[in-house]
Symmetry: C2
Subunit: 227 residues, 2 copies
């Protein structure tokens, strides 16, 4: 039986560590992206596609968050300049990465040489929405086989996202997923968010996503250099 | 900012409410099943298929757990004898149903007239594994598009399951999902669990699942009647 003792406001404590993490990233001019989704929506595949397209332009490291196993880190390790695996199984918050875990992982990364940090959160549409990590952008992936009702059922995740990716669009002939309905629901929760439609399997739409991400990194670098 | 104050061992407190829930269910001879999965794996579809097959044999009520919305309860309400929706959004544990929520919901159900209670948990492969609700059986659904690595990445959910359902087997031609590997991994974690392969869309395999469930309900009724 796991014993949980929470003696302070854990979300406030998390927030202040997240701010410290972002200060450290900014000091080293590293743009950090928090990638969230339900299990199996394609976080690791998106990371692999993104590294493949951008590794000639950016030095990219990855933090892999999982309850258990190193499966994803093993998939990524030959592609990224560095990978750190976090297993949350025996931690008080096993359902999400939290800022304190990232603070620890940043000590194992070559920040001085990095441009982009991709953080793969634990597969979960609920808990990760509440815990800032110090990231500059928050990305949510929904995949077609999950159904188009997820923004209605898990609203906070979509309300806080800087970009929403609709993955596995190659499944469109086989599933009931109404893309316009999904888009309208997301925009109703979060009018400013960007929405990308793509397939990590066929590579359709990956270029648009990577172009947007590259622009965001470049805009960030201009901003931190002038600060 | 949500304030979380946990002044006692919440899992122990949950366990004692779960025991009370099961005593109440047993008093009324109601067999309860806790259905868990990642978002979009097919919990509601399985419930609809199960009611369609068994409603001439059993009086079936449903508790629907969701972070937000009543979408699933609306789908089920014309099929089940009664449905209670629980929305967890503003509760301290938003990522799972907990026994105290079920205790409340049981007050709104006609226990005396029921044989079977299907509880659809919040879509999440992590938190629900830790919170007993008072159920007699725990069912986990994995769907083919999620990938075959979920038992390795979310082991507790599969370790505690009485039955594991592989749903969306009609997707087999379109995905990389190794059913023998998945079965071996699940059996490695939990040798006694039953595994069913089915498709809620095509109805393949539903009969085997419903036959097993019906046998479990009948064995339970014999046991509580003789107690």
């Amino acid at each position: 039986m796991k014993k949980i003792e929470v003696l302070q406001n854990i979300l406030e404590a998390n927030e202040s560590i997240a701010v410290r993490n972002q200060q450290l990233l900014d000091k080293h001019k590293v743009f950090a992206v928090n990638i969230m989704s339900a299990p199996g929506a394609g976080k690791t595949s998106l990371i692999l596609q993104t590294i493949a397209r951008l590794k000639n332009r950016l030095n990219i490291a990855v933090i892999e968050g999982d309850v258990a196993s190193t499966l994803d880190a093993e998939k990524v390790k030959n592609e990224a300049m560095e990978v750190v695996q976090i297993n949350t199984r025996n931690m008080p918050e096993s359902c999400t990465l939290i800022a304190a875990m990232i603070e620890q992982a940043l000590k194992d990364l070559p920040l001085e040489d990095m441009d982009l940090l991709l953080i793969e959160n634990v597969g979960n549409l609920i808990c990760p929405a509440e815990f800032a990590l110090g990231e500059h952008k928050r990305i949510v992936i929904s995949s077609l086989p999950e159904g188009d009702d997820k923004p209605t059922k898990y609203p906070l995740m979509f309300t806080n996202a800087d970009a929403v990716i609709i993955n596995k669009i190659d499944f469109l002939p086989y599933v009931d997923f109404d893309i316009p309905v999904f888009r309208r629901t997301v925009k109703g929760l979060n009018p400013k968010t960007r929405i990308f439609e793509l397939s990590c399997k066929t590579s359709v739409g990956i270029e648009d996503w990577c172009n947007w991400l590259l622009q965001e990194v470049e805009a960030y670098l201009l901003q931190v250099k002038s600060a």
